[in-house]
């Protein structure tokens, strides 16, 4: 009689002989198995859910980078402030896009004028393009929208400043045993990730093991804290 262990061994041996999926459905199932980060995967772009700030043809990483920079600049400390920073990022992104679109329209007109006016200087082509685009509704709308975005950014900056200045922290919770806080003995001892102040060295790993009484610690080195 074949034992469960033997059965598992046979299954592993047969599995090792496999040359991968053969049917179209099987191939579709495993098509994304080897994706590590997906940043360069063209097909993956199609399955990324829609984004409130970035359009389908825009670089999301650039948006996240801008959001990171704004977070570093404004230093939100709670969800409300973070939401305001996110709004600022949205409006700045939109305003940049509007300016790029305006430039694209102007460039397109320049090329069109350059093709028709062959005996003119660059300046004359620019003037002709300007004259041709005077009264262009799209450009007018884009400029108007850009102004709205910039005003919104200013308003949000003011709001953020007010939030950070006026909203005092919640009243301190009365401490147990005359302002001493004891640890909760009923909490579970679960493995988790710890952000380290500075590099992760063998000494740090040993100290964390000693203090947190855990073996499977995940330590992530960070830039040292500073004032």
């Amino acid at each position: 009689m074949i034992t469960a262990d033997r059965k598992a061994q046979i299954a592993r041996e047969n599995g090792a002989k496999s040359k991968g999926p053969k049917t179209e459905k099987g191939k579709q199932n495993s098509v994304r198995n080897a994706i590590t980060h997906g940043e360069r995967a063209e097909a993956l772009k199609l399955i990324v859910p829609p984004h409130s700030a970035c359009l389908a043809n825009e670089d999301r990483q650039a948006f996240y980078k801008m959001f990171d920079n704004l977070t570093a600049k404004y230093r939100p400390t709670d969800e409300t402030e973070q939401a305001v920073v996110r709004e600022i990022a949205d409006f700045q992104w939109k305003s940049t896009r509007n300016k790029q679109m305006e430039s694209a329209i102007f460039n397109r007109e320049l090329l069109r004028q350059a093709a028709t006016i062959t005996e003119s200087t660059g300046l004359e082509i620019s003037i002709a393009a300007h004259e041709a685009l005077t009264g262009n509704r799209t450009i007018a709308e884009l400029r108007k929208d850009t102004q709205i975005c910039l005003r919104a950014v200013t308003r949000l900056q003011r709001l953020l400043l007010q939030l950070q200045k006026n909203w005092a922290p919640a009243d301190p919770v009365p401490e147990k045993n005359e302002a001493t806080e004891q640890t909760n003995p009923n909490s579970e001892n679960t493995a988790q990730t710890y952000d380290i102040n500075g590099p992760v060295t063998p000494n740090v790993v040993n100290l964390y093991r000693d203090i947190f009484h855990q073996d499977g610690l995940q330590l992530v080195g960070r830039e040292p804290n500073a004032d």
Binding site: P49, P50, H51, S52, A53, R60, Y64, F67, D68, T71, A72, R75, P76, T77, D78, E79, Q82, R86, A89, L161, Q164, K165, A168, P169, P172, E175, E178, A179, T180, E181, Q182, T183, N184, P185, S187, E188, N189, T190, Y194, D195, I196, N197, G198, P199, T201, N203, V204, N206, L207, Y208, D210, I211, F212, R222, E223, P224, N225, A226, D227
Partner: protein, 224 residues
């Protein structure tokens, strides 16, 4: 030999003429293996560190104590402070730039954040949130006594991790925000709130702000 039944706070009061508040008394008298104090600015942390270090050195002959500070200047000031307290009870002032040796053989070493020191049986860290974990780790032997004192600064590091770990039963945790500070006046608090609105909650209400440049959420993408 008479048994010394004086607590640290009583000793500080009688010998050093330091009058602690109730919460400072609880920190001074705590002699657990692991102690963490999360306090506001202007609470008197450094004074408490200096008193505890000096008391341990006097009452445990031959003890080696390491006091880690955030910077070289901080280490120097800390040693000065300990030296001043020692002088009040007739002990010699520090004969070396970084250490103080007492007649009973005890030594107190003041170490800066950047220095890797030797390990000692008692390690006291002033401004622990600003000291790199590696520096604390290199000074603390396995199972060694470790006392962390700091005002919050950023959501990373040993100080932050220990303070937020609810399952650590062997740590005595003390929180002291600005309302419990004996030195901060109402005018001073109002002024600080007006001048430094961004850091006020962290500096005076013991809240840990995210580190500059790091998002609140550690997810890779911001919420849509």
């Amino acid at each position: 030999m008479p048994i010394n039944t004086q607590t640290v706070s009583e000793w500080a009061e009688s010998k050093l003429h330091f009058r602690p508040t109730a919460i400072q008394r609880s920190v001074l008298d705590c002699d657990t293996h692991r102690l963490i104090l999360c306090s506001s600015r202007q609470w008197g942390k450094s004074a408490i560190v200096a008193i505890k270090a000096l008391h341990a050195a006097i009452h445990q002959p031959g003890a080696e104590i390491v006091v880690i500070s955030r910077s070289l200047e901080g280490a120097g000031l800390m040693l000065n402070k300990i030296g001043e307290l020692a002088a009040r009870i007739g002990l010699p002032r520090p004969n070396c730039e970084h250490s103080l040796q007492l007649p009973n053989g005890s030594k107190i070493f003041a170490v800066a954040n950047s220095e890797k020191s030797f390990s000692a049986a008692l390690v006291i860290v002033d401004d622990a949130a600003l000291v790199q974990d590696d520096v604390i780790a290199s000074a603390t032997p396995a199972g060694g006594k470790l006392w962390l004192f700091s005002t919050p600064c950023g959501q990373a590091g040993l100080f932050y991790n220990v303070w937020h770990a609810k399952h650590l039963k062997d740590w005595f945790k003390v929180k002291a925000n600005v309302e419990l500070s004996p030195y901060a006046s109402t005018v001073f608090i109002k002024q600080q709130r007006r001048l430094f609105p961004f850091n006020f909650r962290q500096d005076f209400h013991c809240e840990f702000n995210p580190v500059k440049g790091r998002r609140l959420e550690m997810s890779k993408e911001p919420p849509d």
